[in-house]
Structure formats: C-alpha cells, structure tokens
Symmetry: C2
Subunit: 279 residues, 2 copies
Amino acid sequence: MGIGDDAAILKCNGLDKLVVSTDTLVEGTHFKVDDDANDIGHKCLAVSFSDLASMGVKPQWVTLNLTMPEFQSYWFEGFINGFADLLSKHDVALIGGDTTQGPCAVTITVFGEAPLEDIKRRGHAQVGDLIAVTGYLGSAAFALANPYLDALCDKALHRPTPRLDMIEPLKNIANAVIDVSDGLLADLGHICLSSNVGAKINVEQIPVRPVIKSQSDWLQHALTGGDDYQLCFTFPEHKKNKLPKDCSIIGVVTANPQLQVCHHNEPITFQRFGYAHFN
Amino acid sequence: MGIGDDAAILKCNGLDKLVVSTDTLVEGTHFKVDDDANDIGHKCLAVSFSDLASMGVKPQWVTLNLTMPEFQSYWFEGFINGFADLLSKHDVALIGGDTTQGPCAVTITVFGEAPLEDIKRRGHAQVGDLIAVTGYLGSAAFALANPYLDALCDKALHRPTPRLDMIEPLKNIANAVIDVSDGLLADLGHICLSSNVGAKINVEQIPVRPVIKSQSDWLQHALTGGDDYQLCFTFPEHKKNKLPKDCSIIGVVTANPQLQVCHHNEPITFQRFGYAHFN
C-alpha cells in the first residue's frame, strides 16, 4: 500500500469480496459554505462509512477527492481534522485521492473486505420478517428545520455517527439492511422494491426524540427526514430475543408489495413528502 | 458484483494486490463547458486508465461520480457514450457511482488486480537505465496553443489514447514507469525524486510531430507540455533489443540527482516552465 505513485496498492486479505462505495457531496446541496469545516470533514466520511455499515462490512480503506475554490489553510485543516479523527477512530487508512481547484465538492470512496455470506443486501428481506431501526429517526430533519433548539438533534445533523457498531450485532440477525439517508419511507421502500415485498409499520413504534414528538409535525420528520444515517433492517421473528440494544421494532414485512403506514395497526393516510422511489 | 445496493461487491481473483487510482476533473480547469461531451467522457476515463497503465496494471472496474448543474440529456448522453465506448473497448466494468447536482465535475476511480511483481513503481529507476517514451510528446500542448492546426494533435488533446497497449510489452522490461500528464520534465522529475537518481536527456531524441518541430517553441511543448498521457519509463540497457515499437530512447538515468537537458550530450539551458515538483 503506498501513496506517491499514480495509484494505491491494496493487499486483499483473501476474504474473497471487496465492497466499494462512492459518494460525492457538493457545497450548497449537501453542506453549506459556512458550516464548520471540521463538521463537514466528519460528515462526509460518516456518510460513506454508513454505506458500508448498511452492507455489514467494516471500512478498511478510503480515497478522498477534495475540490476547493482556493486553498484556505484554516478551512482545509478543519476539514482534514474532522475527517482524520473519524478515520482513526475506526482504524481506516487513507490510501489516495487528489485535491483540485474548483467549486467545493468532496468525493469519498470507501472499501472493505468481507466473506460473501456476511454481506448484507437490501434485496434479502423475507415475508414475515420484523422491521427495526437503530437509534432515533427524524433528528437531523428536525435540526435542519429548528437549528439550535436541541443539541442532540444538531449533532445528528452535523456530526452523524455511522452505525459501524451495529455490524457485528446484526451479522447473524438481519436479512436486509439499509441506512436511513433519504428518510424511513424512502429507504424502507428501497428494501421492499429490491426484495419484492411490502411493509406495514406502526408510527407509534418509531423511535423519535421527545423534543420532536412534542411538535405537530413530528411524523413528517420521523417518516421522511433523511440524513440520520441510522440503520433500518429486517430480521426473522424467532431472532427477536437477539435484537441488539438501541434497536426498535417498528413493523413487519408483508407479501402485499405496498408500504402501509399504520397507527396501532390501523392504516392512516400520510402525505408522502420525499418519498419518490417506491410505488 | 452488483449495482443497486449501497456499495458494489467485487470478486478479487486472488492476484493478491488491488491497485486503485482516483482523479477529479473539473469544468474550467480540466475541460471546457463547450468541449464536445463525448470527448469529455472519453478523456476523463482515458486519464484514469493512463494512471493504471503507468502502474503496469490492466483496469478492470471503475466508479463514476458525475456532478452536473442541471440534467441536460444531450450532454449526459454524449458524455456517457464517450465514457462507455472507451470502457467497453477495454472490457472494463462500471460498478458504481452517483450523480449529483452542482458545478460540473467528474470523479473516476479505477481498479485493477495484479501480482505485486508486475506492478510498476516510479521509485524503481536504476542508475544506468535508459530512459524512453512512447508515441509523441507535446502534441496536446501544441493543440491547446494552436487549435485546429493539426488533427492528430487535436486528437491527442481531446481524445487521448491511454497506453494500455504498453502494459504487456513493458512488463518484463521497464523498471520505473510514469505517464506524462504534467510534462516530460515534471514527470521524469517525479521518477528521479522517487528513485533518488538523476537523468540526462537529449532534446533531439524526443519524439515530436513534424508540425510541432517546425515551430520556434517546439522544445517548450516537448519538455513541459502535459496532457499527452504517453508513458515515460526507464529500463536496463541490456534489454534495449526488446524495446517495443513506438518507443524512443531519450536519455539515461544518472547517479547525480539532477535533471540535465542536453543537445547531443551538451547541456543546454532551458527555462523551466511548468516544472515545479523537482529541485
């Protein structure tokens, strides 16, 4: 493995499968120019790590392509510090990349090796599976709409924690996994579409922070708020007693290929904002 | 291997080393908004392929992150056609990526597997090695300064051919290889710095198209013109008879860690434009 040549060289450990994910985040769309640079560095990497967490694979290597309009050392140092702190926290190596002059954008590509049987796919949900999510949903969306109202929600928005801690606990439990980046309905919709199944969820079971639940629009945040980077997964009911802490059961996988939003098992009507991928 | 999950899954073939290279190209810096979109798609990929060619490794997989200010189908189709044509010509698979809204930029990450002993490094030049280059140098720089004067130079600038054809012929010959992206002096400088050696080159031996050689500034293009994506490599003198066609010997690796520009072995003074990396 080396930096300085035209490419990095990775030593695969013979685990057979290399999992690769790549994301571009653009100033104006994914972060703001006046966001804290350290937060931006953290969040860009967290988003990439979250993709691998949803595959059940530990990140091992990353490349970073950083485009900046001009070199401002205080911004660059802030960004790199936020990036490097999360990198070293999870013992991941930066193996290459480049810096380019241009409108501010960040592309991160993340790699991890795993045996095929450990890799989670969104298309593996089974009818009858229970549906669960980690942590709290809607926190980031709430903070976006209500900045500085709740520190924990602000943190969820600006410094999300990728759920790499769930890789091991979910290894022998989950059938299908996805990270909640576009909102619960959209991302659970991806699982349903890929698995050719449907889902029925109960809104009162969705874990939402009390500060959000006290607002009239809490359901909007809970169902369609993206950017939380929690995991949503399905698992067989008989493994219910192995469900890790910090996970909440919110519904069940159905044969009818629709996504039913219920309240105490009674269907409710919900305006489907931000829910474009699933019909 | 699959698209549609949060990440692509690659099956490594057990060749032990995975070589990864990533580049971002930005509109305004690396290509112009009114360049032909098909050419842009071709060139962005060619630049990435060239990095792997310089490592002696055949590209097998790529990811593409495409950022566009708005979706214009004619531009997108042109770009993708240029990209896909070069991809399929070399039997390389697109395994993932994303599209994002923002200022136009392209990030390509390219992967190839190889046994360690086949991987070329720029730090492996040996004192006494001969120095050679593929094809012609300075063509792209000439076309940039003199558009529409020579079709072959225009092609070198807008649709460069990555020298993947040189991977096999150079496998058992070259010690150190680099692609000429920043200009001969800069890139040969990288080899010298990495290998802790120097170089002596004869300008009359540098392969330059006749149309360029007839100009007063030909040497400027030949020595500092970037963007040609030819290969520059060093090899032991006793392998001289195995030198592939389309290669020209231009000098020799020296113990004295300087880069000497000569004319018939007599040092000449050359103003070092665009030659920032090597002291």
